[in-house]
C-alpha cells in the first residue's frame, strides 16, 4: 500500500535543504527559487509511538534529547535516532511541531486517550493552581470534559469496527469540535490573566491540540477531505489568534512577583525564566506554523485523489520509518 502513495524519506531532500535550494515552512518543503511546493512532512504511527516515550518534554530542543535514557530497546532506539535525525535534516529545532501532529495526525484514538489520561492526572495535581488561575473553573468541570473527550475517542475507535463507520466518525468529529472549543476558551482565558503558569498552559494546550488532531483524523478516516481541509484552516487561524501575542520577555517579567520585576537583583532570575519561556513559545509557534501549512497537505491528497482512510491506515501500519515526505509534484 505504501508504494501507491508518493512518499520519500527526509534524507532525499537533505542536500537541497542544506544548500538552501529547498526551504521548509511549517510542514511543507518548497523550491526556494520558484516557490513551488515540492513535498509535505508526514509522521507515521512509528513516530507517534516513539514520541509517547519522550512526551513529557514536548518542546525539548532536538539537540538536547537524551535518547539513551529514553528506556527504549535497541530497535526502537535506532528508530528514535532516525526520527530525530530526520527532523534535524528538515531543520526543526525542537519537538514543537509534533504538538499538532507532523502533517496529518495518525496518532490513533487509543493513544490519544492514553495521553489525555496522563494530562488529566497532571492537571488534577495542580488543584490549587487551577483555583488561582480560573476563579470560576472547578476541577470537576475539567474532569467532566476530559471524560467526555476520552469517551468520544473510544467511540471513534469502536466506529472503526463498523462496516460503515463514516456516520459515527463524523458525529465524533463534530462533538470533538465542541470540546476543542471548550479547551480553546480555557487557554484564551488563562492567557488573558497576568499570571502565567507554564505547566498548566501546556496541559490545556496539549488537550486542545489533541482534540483537534483527533477531529481531523476522524474526518480523514470518513473520507471527508474538503471538510478536513476547512477544519485545518480554522484550527490554524485559532492557533494564530491564541499564540501570536505570546512574547517571552513579557511573560517572564509577569512571572516574577510584582515587587521584584524591575529590580537589578532580579535580572539573573528573569533571564533564566525568559529562556525557559522562549523554548515554550518557540514550540507553540512551530506548532502554529505546522497547523497553518496542514491544509496544503490535505490539498495535495485531494489533488492526487488519495483516499483519506487508506492514507491514515497506511501510515498507522508503517513499521519502520517514523517520517515520510509526501511529494507534491
Amino acid at each position: 500500500m505504501i508504494d501507491s502513495i508518493p512518499f520519500k524519506v527526509p534524507l532525499e531532500f537533505a542536500a537541497g535543504l542544506a544548500d538552501g535550494s529547498i526551504t521548509r515552512i511549517g510542514t511543507l518543503l518548497k523550491d526556494t527559487a520558484t516557490g513551488q511546493i515540492v513535498a509535505h512532512v508526514q509522521e507515521t504511527g512509528v513516530a507517534q509511538n516513539l514520541l509517547q516515550g519522550i512526551s513529557s518534554t514536548p518542546f525539548m530542543a532536538l539537540g538536547g534529547l537524551d535518547l539513551a535514557s529514553s528506556g527504549y530497546a535497541n530497535y526502537q532506539l535506532a528508530q528514535l535516532k532516525t526520527m530525530v535525525e530526520g527532523l534535524q535534516v528538515l531543520q526543526y529545532a525542537n519537538l514543537g511541531v509534533a504538538l499538532a501532529g507532523i502533517g496529518v495526525s495518525v496518532i490513533g484514538f487509543s493513544m490519544i486517550n492514553k495521553r489525555l489520561k496522563l494530562i488529566e492526572r497532571q492537571v488534577a495535581e495542580m488543584g490549587a493552581r487551577i483555583e488561582q488561575h480560573f476563579s470560576d473553573l472547578s476541577q470537576s468541570m475539567l474532569r467532566h470534559h476530559y471524560y467526555q473527550v476520552q469517551t468520544l475517542f473510544e467511540m471513534a475507535g469502536q466506529a472503526l469496527c463498523l462496516k460503515n463507520p463514516d456516520r459515527e466518525l463524523l458525529a465524533v468529529a463534530s462533538q470533538l469540535g465542541n470540546e476543542s472549543g471548550y479547551f480553546r476558551g480555557e487557554v484564551t482565558y488563562m492567557l488573558s490573566k497576568e499570571n502565567f503558569d507554564p505547566e498548566l498552559f501546556l496541559s490545556l494546550t496539549r488537550s486542545y491540540t489533541l482534540c483537534n488532531a483527533g477531529r481531523l483524523e476522524c474526518l480523514m478516516l470518513a473520507r471527508e477531505l474538503p471538510a478536513a481541509k476547512k477544519v485545518a484552516q480554522d484550527v490554524g487561524s485559532h492557533y494564530r489568534s491564541l499564540f501570536d501575542p505570546l512574547v517571552p520577555n513579557r511573560i517572564a517579567i509577569n512571572m516574577l512577583p510584582i515587587e521584584e520585576r524591575w529590580l537589578e537583583s532580579s535580572s539573573i532570575k528573569l533571564k533564566q525564566i525568559q529562556g525557559e519561556v522562549a523554548t515554550l513559545v518557540q514550540g507553540v509557534r512551530d506548532a502554529t506554523e505546522a497547523a497553518l501549512t496542514k491544509p496544503y497537505l490535505i490539498d495535495t491528497l485531494i489533488e492526487k485523489d488519495i483516499d483519506g482512510y487508506e492514507y491514515i491506515k497506511t501510515l498507522r501500519e508503517e513499521k519502520s520509518n517514523p517520517l515520510y515526505l509526501l511529494t507534491a509534484t
Partner: protein
C-alpha cells in the same frame, strides 16, 4: 489558505518582535548604569545649601538635563536598531520586498508612525504597505513626548522630593564628617530606584521600556494585518 510566503513572513515578524522586546529591555537595563554614573557625578557636586535649601531647583537644573539627554539618545538608538532589524526582515531575499524611498513626517495621528516601505509578496502578487517601527527623524519632529507619552522624558517631581527628603533623613545619627557623603549616597539610592521604575517598568505601565514595547506590539499587529491572508 494563508499563502505559504505569508506563513513564513508572519513567523519572521513575530521573531522580530520577540527579539526586540528582549533587546529593548536588556539595552535599557544595561545603559541605566551609564546614566547612574553620570548622575552620581552631579550628585557629588551638591553642597549643603543645594541639598537643604534648593534641592528641587538643583535637581531640575543639573539632573534633569542629564536624564533627558540620556533618554533621547537611548530612544533614538533603539528606534534605529529596531527599524534596521525590521528592514532586514522585509527586504530579505525570500520575500522580494522593494522599498519606497518616500518618507512622511510622523504627525502623531497614526498608531504606527510612518509607512516607509511597500512590498510585493511574490506568490500572492499583492502589494503590501509595511509600517515602519518608526524613523528617528519622524519621531524627533513630532517629539518623543508626543510619541511615547510625556512621562518617559519628564524628570519626575517625586525624584526632586525624594532627593531632599532622603537628604534630610540621612542627617539623623550621622557624624558631621560623614554627613555629606551619607546624604549623597541616600540621594543616589533614591534616584536610582525612581529612575529604574520610570525607565524599566512600573505598575502604571508607562515606563520608557513599557511604552516602547507597547509600540512594538502595535506595529507588529499592524504588519500582521497587512500580510496577505
Amino acid at each position: 489558505m494563508l499563502p505559504v510566503e505569508s506563513v513564513q513572513l508572519r513567523t519572521e515578524i513575530l521573531n522580530w518582535r520577540d527579539q526586540n522586546y528582549e533587546k529593548i529591555h536588556d539595552r535599557l537595563a544595561r545603559e541605566l548604569m551609564v546614566l547612574f554614573s553620570s548622575l552620581d557625578s552631579e550628585i557629588k557636586k551638591m553642597e549643603y545649601k543645594d541639598i537643604f535649601l534648593n534641592g528641587a531647583e538643583y535637581s531640575k537644573a543639573h539632573f534633569q538635563p542629564v536624564y533627558t539627554a540620556w533618554v533621547e539618545r537611548e530612544i533614538r538608538e533603539i528606534v534605529e536598531d529596531v527599524e534596521a532589524d525590521l528592514r532586514k526582515v522585509v527586504t530579505s531575499k525570500s520575500f522580494q520586498f522593494t522599498h519606497n524611498s518616500a518618507q512622511e513626517a510622523y504627525d502623531g495621528s497614526s498608531s504606527c508612525g510612518t509607512e516607509v516601505a511597500t512590498a510585493t509578496l511574490a506568490s500572492a502578487g499583492a502589494l503590501v504597505a509595511i509600517p515602519a517601527f518608526a524613523s528617528w527623524s519622524a519621531v524627533s519632529a513630532g517629539g518623543i513626548a508626543g510619541w511615547l507619552g510625556v512621562t518617559v522624558i519628564s524628570w519626575p517631581v517625586v525624584i526632586a522630593g525624594i532627593a531632599v527628603g532622603g537628604g534630610l533623613l540621612a542627617l539623623s545619627g550621622s557624624k558631621w564628617a560623614n554627613l555629606k557623603e551619607n546624604v549623597h549616597k541616600s540621594i543616589e539610592k533614591n534616584i536610582r530606584a525612581s529612575i529604574r521604575q520610570q525607565v524599566l517598568g512600573n505598575k502604571e505601565n508607562n515606563s520608557v521600556c513599557q511604552r516602547l514595547h507597547g509600540h512594538l506590539d502595535k506595529v507588529t499587529n499592524a504588519i500582521l494585518e497587512e500580510i496577505p491572508a
